[in-house]
């Protein structure tokens, strides 16, 4: 499987480590509120089991050590889109 890195071009997936769904970027920020237990439960454990396009986090460990958000079709393994996780995170108004 080839991942088309936004900065480095096409690289073998062997260089990467897979983490899981890209939802992990959305860490709840209300940790001091009573409702946060439920939010963190959702954040930590509840995942969609998608049969189709799935956004997920990959880490370029044997490369430039960047985190990527890869959109992959779980049925065909086709990779539809690759973005820097940093850009995705900033795009939704999160910090650095």
């Amino acid at each position: 499987m080839i991942i088309n890195h936004p900065l480095l071009g096409p690289r073998d997936s062997e260089e990467f480590v897979y983490l899981g769904a890209a939802d992990l970027i959305n860490r709840p920020s209300n940790w001091e509120h009573d409702a946060s237990a439920e939010d963190f439960y959702q954040y930590q454990y509840i995942r969609e089991n998608v049969a189709g396009d799935h956004r997920e986090l990959w880490y370029h460990e044997q490369g430039d050590q960047s985190w990527l958000v890869v959109t992959r079709n779980t049925l065909s393994h086709e990779i539809i889109n690759v973005e820097l996780a940093q850009d995705v995170s900033r795009g939704i108004g999160r910090g650095k």
């Binding site: 900065l7 480095l8 096409p10 690289r11 073998d12 062997e14 260089e15 044997q62 490369g63 430039d64 050590q65 960047s66």
Partner: protein, 189 residues
Amino acid sequence: MSDYELVVESALDGAEHEFEGVTVSEVVGKSLVMVALPRSKFTEIESSMTKSCGLSLPGMERSTQSKDSSITLWRLQKNQVLAYFSYEGNDAEVNIANRLNAPAYYTDQSDTWAMIRVNGPRSRDVLERICPIDLSKNVFSVGNVSRTIMEHIGTIIYRDDDDSYVLLTMRSFGVSMLHAIEVSAKNVL
């Protein structure tokens, strides 16, 4: 003061092997220092380096050279460069910090890497069996540098001339990497 002195030993004991069309040899006489670039100081660092040695910050997976060609910078990550330069002393970190004269953070990595040069007209034939990166002449051009894996171990590859590649791997893996390159050479040539 101690009454003994540590003597530098190269990782591969100066190994050099000739094959038909390819020479595999250890790179000696070079030092390697990581230069970490704090995000807020990119511009300041670049202008200091330009002033002191005529160096600019390279783009991702590219390299730049100082005016006298003695220092090469490799950009393998956004927030750091590796300085690859001719120097044999024990204080490479101080030496490069003084030469660049830029407000970055320096870490000497010279002795932690084994450096192997593969050169000759058939070098690409030997490397393509162990390197997952496209080494075609026009894709991986002179001055390109990449960090990837070879033999399942993190390896840096740098093209410093038309038919010349420098491979860096962790020192403890150096002998095995040399072996892997030689096996590839024997299989191909």
